[in-house]
Amino acid sequence: MARDFGFLILAVLVLAATCESAVVSPVSESHRSAALELFSPADGSYGSLEETYEALKTFKVLGIEKKHDIRTSSCASVADALKSTSSALKDFVDALRVNSILKCELNSEAVRGIQSKLKDSLNGANSLIDFYYSIGGLVLLKEQISEVDVHLGDADRIFRSIKALGQSDGRWRLSSNNPESSNNAAGIALEALAGVISLATPQIDNSLITTLKNDILKLFDGIERYDDGTCYFDEKLVGARGHQSPLSSSASVVRGIAAIAAATTETLNLPGEKILGLAKFFLGVGVPGSAHDLYHQIDALSCLENIRESTPLILSLPATVISVTKKDQLKVRASTVLGSPAPTLSVRLMQIFVSGSKDASVIDQKLKFDAASGMHVLETLPKNIDVGSYIFSFEVIFHNPEHKKTYVSGGRTRVLVHITGVIKTDNAEIVILDGDRGSVETQKKLKLPGDNAVALSANHLQKLRLSFDLSTPFGNVFKPHQAFLKLRHESGVDHIFLVGNSGKKFEIILDFLGLVEKFFYLSGRYDIQLTVGDADMENSFLQPLGFVELDLPDAPEKATRPPPQAVDPYSRYGPKAEISHIFRAPEKRPAKELSLAFLGLVLVPFFGFLAGLAQLGPNLKNFPKSTVPSTFAILFHLGIAAVLALYALFWLKLDLFTTLKALGLLGMFLMFVGHKTLSHLASTSSKLKSV
């Protein structure tokens, strides 16, 4: 039951996230611990210089003191990258970036070599990436080593060549031969242009900066939005460099815009709503799972925090479920995206909407600021707020009117709040009424929620009535999401009824005369179970109340059968019923003595044959006398005897194929011998005849 309750809460919160009232929370300890976990050095370094930079920048923004001692190895790789002649532009820039955080000692000769390389590549650059890296490297050099001269004389030309790669919809192409444009490239271009502006002597022509401002506004026109105001930049086409996620594209654009805002003193008139939307997008990611994503998120949020003219402010609620029974108080926190405290302001609760309906009430109540916790507290709930789900609409009022121009708070912030409480159940009783007269036959009082075990009996002419009162802690009417009465027959068939209400009183009357057919004419014991539940009810219950013995008339011929009950899935794997095989009754065999008697009787003719033979007196006169024919004659007789013995063996244990094989051999022998004998006999008799 608690699980169902929890699931309901989760479902409602998920729904809330898709509605207009999502709540985001600023950067917190979970981000810091994730950073320490994701950026953990392997073998004393974070990997390439780019990864080292990402790790160092993230730690710096989150304020984590570097726990991992990688300074020596990183400085060594920085020095190597700067010294080597075969490094690409990207490696120089990555090394300089790492150095900007670590501040290692740099060899001045290497620095001069870098400077000349960067300047040469800038002069020969024609793709956006070349411009980006060469200008970026020069800016970093200027920051770190002040005596280096990196001023750009022909800044206008460079500015225009970068702008030439831009498109009318605010996006940029990576090079002139590549028609694909992306937001990511726009971010890179803006950073490069910011670098040009900051390095240019004399100052860049203001008209160019004005056109740049228009480009930025056009870029914002292409931003994607969610219903709740979250904005992000996404790539429409998958470029050759693979798919850029919305997180990295949006982070790139934010970096570009922040760089421009920092480089020029002019106001950019950025759309505050969209800046706040971007802040919500980055915070809405939560804690990313990969190091790259965490870097993009944290870097973008730090850029947003430091944007001069539209710093986003976030209203976050640590708890959106308030219990009136426990006398919880609604607390709101106003902070920047990185969790730093906001300037002095007050939060006012302007309106309350009842969730799921169009009712709204205008409140305009100021929340008290608690300096100790930094939270704005709603000390007392408005008068007409009872247990239920509401959307609270807050507004931020700055104490200093100047702040309104530099901070963006997004007008009204809508938050889904659940007010929960313990619902009181009173006057619960279950009654059996006589059908015709309506008089009470049995009446039992119930304790809800609590242990009940009523034992009732009824026949089909009677009615069952269950009634109880529900009221909120403030004594108002409460209509829960679920109020069910379930009757379950001992065979497993169950029936569910909704309990309706009029005001506080909840009542259901079951007229068994009308329900006889619905109950499939099953008489017997029915267990009664009552369920009352709601997302905002802290004491939802699902309770067995007892049982009622129902006496229903017998089912007529045509009545519907109750549905078959679900088979217990585990019984499928248990042992099955014993099968008793029915064998064919064996044939009646004769008595043993009878069979033996007949065996003797059958042999009698044989002996009779021998006796008759003796009487007739056959002789062996014609048996051959001389050696060779006599051998053959003897072998002939032996052969026949052998064949008969083979047959006896065949009957006793041999199979047909073995017998046939043996018979074939014996037969050939017998043929030979027999032929010899008989031909000899034939020749002797014919000799006799002729003689």
């Binding site: 008759g612 007196g617 026949i640």
Partner: protein
């Protein structure tokens, strides 16, 4: 009166048959004896089946048919060996005997297989 004449005739018939039979050659008498006792064995088996029922029917059949078959083969041997039989004048009796032995062996192979 007629009765005694009939019986006297029957007796005379028997007597003449017996004397005629006594004139047959010895080897033919041996074959006749063999046939007689083969049929007797078959009859005993049929009587047994009549008493106890034909449960292993294949055994009954094989037993009876072996007796009957061997009797039939002996009859054909007798026909072929009989010197008075003009049809088989040129057939040497040894050849007929060899046929008899061979056919008997084949018959008994089949019988043994069918006996079960």
């Amino acid at each position: 009166m007629g009765k005694s004449a009939t019986t006297r005739d029957v007796h005379a018939l028997f007597h003449s048959l017996r004397s005629a039979y006594a004139a047959t050659a010895n080897h033919l008498k041996i074959i006749d004896l063999y046939i007689f006792f083969a049929i007797a064995t078959a009859l005993i088996q049929v009587a047994y089946m009549a008493i106890v029922g034909s449960f292993p029917f294949n055994s009954f059949l094989s037993g009876v048919l072996s007796c009957v078959g061997t009797a039939v083969l002996a009859v054909s041997l007798r026909i072929q060996v009989n010197k008075d039989n003009k049809e088989f004048k040129d057939l040497p009796p040894e050849r007929a005997f060899a046929d008899f032995v061979l056919c008997n062996l084949v018959l008994h192979l089949v019988i043994m297989n069918f006996l079960g």
